[in-house]
Point group: C2
Chain length 431, copies 2
């Protein structure tokens, strides 16, 4: 089998010194990493001189279907923004809106080096499953369920249909999640049933929890128990559970997460933009709770760039902890790469190691904003200076999704044009 050899790049690995190395991709796998790899005549050679080499970034929480709401209603607090902007607009969404939105999301994610994401959305997820495999990304997909109207069976059946479809897929790119939206949009018994469904198929449980102080207060006064304890009592905290946000959680709740080996998707840009607050990530990491990084939807970010969220997180927690070493660079890289991938059920992704899945990203470091471009500073450049325009090449499972700045599996101009056209339809229908 012909291989691709990525030569002369500076390889970044959490906790290790950045080093110039060559990497060979054969099929879907990184099968060699060495100081010098000699290509055979059949191999393709990619020159990564002046570039950093990283694993594909992993987005542990997003809602690709709402990407057309990017920047809508900026400056509103979460509940008001959901009630007055997001939900009314989403009520007008058709299949074509959501397809245009997801393509836009995947195009932006690939451009910013993301190869894997976990998506929670209530519309058109069967189509998304198909589309992800066409585009060549990896994804964990869960049908977002809001269950205040009593139509529980309908919701759970649709969720189950998605799980079954994904489990019959042979691409190796997909996994399923069961995703009740949140404790404030799903009655406790519904959460329990959702957990049972996840158990039946051995898939990820994914929900929003304790995003705002107000939400936690409401939950305490309605139910007399903290949200994470409530999830625990409902059987929802497992080693295959990923909780989005967990901004306002107590030490006791962190202990429950730790004991249940549940993971957190930290979504710093969304939490900041919506005024939700700052999650206690240093404490989570210190307890050994797995932490990944999520963009949340473009509507509250406004990027879908895990790189941007990693950079925001690195600045944010050093600053708010008033301790520049509160969380180490290697912990942010793990969150963006291997920890994120592991919590999504892809333990062989998110790492540049022999035998790992070939999810690889090249990032130019020969830029003004990363000069001097020296190995000892490569991690600092990545965490505090690189931007998505510096990313030139992306492989997912050995398949090239972007080469030399051009997307290969999505038509960028068409994706943009369709997104604009779909938004115009919605805007006109609301006049």
């Amino acid at each position: 089998m012909n291989a691709t050899i990525i030569k002369n790049g500076v390889v970044l690995t959490p906790g290790k010194r950045a080093e110039r190395k060559d990497i060979r991709i054969t099929g879907k796998t990184i099968d060699q990493i060495a100081s010098v790899i000699q290509p055979t005549r059949e191999d393709s050679v990619v020159d990564a001189s002046g570039k950093l080499v990283t694993p594909g970034f992993v987005n542990t929480h997003t809602h690709t279907g709402s990407t057309l709401l990017r920047g809508a209603g900026g400056g509103l607090p979460l509940q008001e923004w959901l009630r007055t902007v997001m939900w009314p607009a989403e009520a007008t969404f058709t299949e074509t809106t959501v397809r245009a939105a997801s393509d836009l999301a995947m195009a932006e994610m690939i451009r910013s080096g993301t190869t894997m994401f976990m998506d929670m959305y209530h519309l058109d997820m069967l189509h998304l499953a198909e589309r992800v495999t066409e585009v060549g990304m990896k994804a964990v997909l869960g049908r977002g369920m809001i269950a205040l109207d009593g139509r529980w069976t309908e919701r759970l059946e649709a969720a189950e249909e998605l799980v079954k479809t994904i489990q019959s897929d042979k691409s190796g790119l997909l996994k399923a999640a069961v995703s009740p939206h949140a404790l404030y949009t799903c009655p406790p018994d519904f959460i329990r049933k959702a957990g049972e469904l996840a158990e039946k198929y051995d898939v990820i449980r994914h929900t929003h929890v304790s995003e705002t102080a107000q939400e936690v207060q409401h939950h305490l006064s309605s139910h007399g128990v903290s949200p994470c304890r409530h999830l625990h009592e409902l059987g929802f905290l497992t080693p295959k559970t990923v909780l989005a946000h967990a901004v306002h959680v107590t030490e006791e709740e962190l202990l429950l997460l730790k004991e249940n080996r549940s993971a957190v998707s930290h979504n710093p840009r969304s939490n900041l933009k919506l005024g939700s607050g700052v999650a206690p990530v240093r404490k989570m990491l210190k307890s050994g709770i797995p932490v990944g990084l999520g963009t949340d939807s473009a509507a509250s970010n406004n990027r879908l760039s895990v790189l941007a969220d990693m950079q925001t997180a690195a600045l944010l927690h050093a600053g708010t902890e008033e301790n520049s070493t509160a969380v180490q660079a290697e912990d942010w890289m793990s969150a963006a790469w291997n920890s994120g991938a592991s919590m999504l059920g892809f333990p062989d992704s998110g790492r540049l190691e022999e035998g790992s899945a070939a999810d690889v990203v090249l990032i130019r470091s020969d830029r003004l904003h990363m000069t001097p471009d020296i190995h000892e500073r490569a991690a600092d450049h990545l965490l505090f200076a690189a931007e998505s325009a510096d990313i030139t090449d992306v492989w997912s499972n050995g398949k090239a999704l972007m080469r030399e700045g051009s997307l290969l599996t999505l038509d960028e101009e068409k994706v943009r044009a369709e997104a604009e056209a779909e938004w115009r339809k919605i805007a006109e229908s609301n006049v």
Copy 2:
């Protein structure tokens, strides 16, 4: 006189709805803004379709001479980082190091849309004054003074020489500052003398204050008075004073700043990266204290992009105040543009108005990460999505510094090569 007409761009103005407008630049000035401007045959026409049009960004605090230390010693707290990384490296700097560093800084600033900056550095500032006018940016320059060794006269004379040189310059691009480094590096009587020097020439007073909690504690125990009150007692707080950082300031100190009409350079990325903390910007703005945005040096940022600092600030204060409307978008735009320019003594800059200085920036908004690209969301795209690679064109005082992504007054490849070569010299001399 031939004019440049910028056509079809979406003009962003703090507090106003973004609107498609044409802008005419004649000489150094914006002399017309209108829905449609018909060019004469002699005029140059720039098509800004698919672009945002903003004023030049203003960097109210930086140290361009130390740009080669970008990313050095990442993860150390401020005092340790100064003592073990910054000051030892700077002790080896020669004239050529600092010139390469300043050119690198100016190139990166122009690329990220910055047309004006205030620089505090202790080396080679006379040369920088000349270089700024060649490059065509605007700058306020002050010789950074550390005065713990008793050689006060020497320091003050060098500062005065810079002030006199700048005041004899006819370009209109330069202003002078008197810049004692900080209360912890300058004895109180030296600060008083520095203030008197600024008074004599009617120039800006610029110093660091209350950057870390530790520094404030030390000052209180050594001097029995808070840093800002101390500056006030030393006659240093005036309407021409710009204080860098002011992270750890009390309500009483904010009142002193307000009463003296002194301004603050908020440097969020540096304050976060170094673990210094979060400045009370909402309170400052509520008190009417002018707030600008500074990158601080590349060594602690690692960017020299006011756009990046504005974006970080917008996220940070919404999140830490747990209120997405704590500071309005228009306040961040004013800080980055007109408030910043005014506090640096250029009240006609930082605004897109007829009669203003022609400091103009074009930013592509036809990008995946700013789709849908609609006027109502332009401010949100700028604050939460744009990146420096989206910036294509920059004019300062009517002179084009970047056109269609290419720097015109600096040779980008040469700037990068010289910076790398100078850093290698330093690294080798330290072996």
